[in-house]
């Protein structure tokens, strides 16, 4: 059964159209990679799903029509977002960032703290003074604390040290294997995506140019649309 479905979604920034009829399908428990070069509409797609940008077309999550819902209600259906650029709440402490939108479920402070010990050490520090990587961890922790059914990671490993990046990929893999969480992931590292994602959707200039099993993604296609 599909958890998230986009049909013919278009979106625009003012006069400039950014999405031209995007289709996307994500089943329960599936990990889908959204790929494409810079500026091709990946983040825009994410924004339409989270209702941060008005869109036309059909957006269905878990049988609910997202198009009528405001942003916060879409999130409450179980969409957890780790946005591009982190967007931690600067003036809140680490702990406050984590509990600010927490909803009950398996993920709580302790579990996030175990996942990112660095955050646990800095519970009282203002987010604005965290290092870039720490902020990234915080953004992931914050999304997990909402106990989502669908986790959206938009460049979640940007700016992270290899070791931590590897850890995060391990976490993603574990989330997939152990909790059956559905994940929509955007990342520039094809290698990691290949390991974790079941399927891939590739965007170019706001259109889906390729989609299918990750394994079926051949070198030529990826070179043409992703650059490697």
């Amino acid at each position: 059964m599909s958890l998230l479905r986009l049909e013919n979604v278009t979106a625009r920034y003012g006069a400039a159209q950014a999405l031209f009829g995007v289709d996307l399908d994500l089943a329960e428990g599936e990990v889908v990679a959204l790929m494409g070069r810079n500026g091709m509409g990946k983040s825009t797609t994410v924004k339409t799903i989270c209702k941060m940008l008005p869109a036309e077309g059909r957006l269905i999550f878990d049988g609910h029509d997202l198009s009528r819902l405001p942003s916060h209600q879409a999130a409450r259906l179980g969409i957890g977002l780790v946005p591009e650029g982190r967007r931690c709440f600067r003036d809140l402490t680490v702990a406050e960032n984590l509990i600010v939108a927490a909803r009950p479920g398996p993920w709580d402070m302790d579990r996030v703290g175990a996942l990112f010990p660095r955050l646990a050490e800095r519970r009282g520090q203002r987010a604005a003074t965290l290092s870039g990587g720490e902020q990234q961890m915080l953004a992931i922790g914050r999304a997990l604390m909402t106990n989502p059914r669908l986790l959206i990671l938009d460049e979640a490993t940007e700016g992270l040290a290899p070791l931590i990046r590897a850890e995060i990929w391990a976490v993603v893999a574990r989330l997939k294997a152990e909790t059956g969480l559905s994940i929509l992931v955007i990342d520039k590292s094809l290698k990691e995506l290949r390991q974790v994602a079941d399927r891939a959707v590739i965007l170019a200039r706001g259109r889906v140019v390729w989609s299918g099993e990750m394994a079926a993604l051949d070198h030529e296609t990826s070179l043409r649309h992703v650059g490697v």
Partner: protein
């Protein structure tokens, strides 16, 4: 051996109990790329702020072209040829891409106090700005508003602004971050040629780029340089593997 372009000696800084720079020694010589890597929160961005001004170290000194610049403001250091790119893009979002580049050219030319002449008709500035945009591959977006750029494009513009300064040294904080594979490859190529114009102090988490580019690598952890040397040695260093690289390399 030539005198280093940029030299950092015994730099220390603490925030309360947290030591973010712990007696750091570093140098940047002409023609090289010196990569600084290290775990998140190791103090890399802090180090850059101390080098470029904006954050005063508690102890230690920064020398640029042999001059002690430790007490100088950001502006003065920039005038002496230090070009910095930001980890989080700092661009005038309402202005066009070209205007952002022009700002750098203007700073390099050092003539902001002109009240009457339209800046866009200043050929010499335009040439510099357009050339910089061209090198990072943003010429086609010159007339676009910066706010309309995608994340990756903003990273490119960030580097272009630094380029307009025709600096004596670059200090770059994660220029690859957010660039796609292809963009990353282009940036890697660009930096490879740039270093012949001015050496680059490169903070970066993209290990492919670091190992492809760096002539020397210093590893920062807990505010302290735990290893420094040529790429191969660093790759093999057990402490570095444990603190940072993991199985990556």
């Amino acid at each position: 051996m030539t005198k280093p372009v940029l030299e950092v000696r015994g730099l220390s800084k603490r925030f309360g109990a947290l030591v973010v720079s712990d007696g750091i020694d570093l140098s940047l010589r002409a023609g090289e790329i010196h990569a600084v890597i290290g775990p998140n929160g190791a103090g890399k961005t802090t180090l850059i702020a101390e080098i470029c001004g904006g954050l005063a170290p508690d102890a230690g000194s920064v020398h640029l072209n042999g001059r002690d610049v430790t007490g100088l403001p950001i502006r003065a250091r920039a005038k002496m040829g230090l070009a910095r790119t930001f980890q989080i893009s700092a661009l005038a979002m309402e202005d066009t891409v070209l205007q952002n580049a022009l700002l750098g050219a203007l700073g390099a030319a050092g003539r902001p106090w002109r009240f009457f002449r339209p800046v866009l008709s200043d050929r010499s500035l335009r040439v510099v700005a357009e050339a910089a945009l061209d090198r990072v591959g943003l010429s086609h977006k010159a007339a676009a508003r910066t706010a309309e750029l995608s994340h990756g494009e903003r990273r490119q513009l960030e580097v272009a602004v630094a380029l307009t300064l025709t600096p004596t040294a670059f200090v770059m904080d994660e220029p690859m971050a957010g660039l796609g594979t292809e963009g990353g490859a282009r940036m890697t190529a660009l930096l490879g040629t740039l270093k012949h114009e001015a050496p680059i102090l490169l903070v970066e988490h993209d290990m492919d780029a670091v190992f492809a580019l760096a002539d020397r690598i210093s590893v920062l952890a807990g505010g302290r340089v735990i290893a420094s040397g040529p790429p191969d040695a660093i790759r093999a260093d057990a402490a570095v593997r444990e603190a940072y690289l993991g199985d990556e390399a």
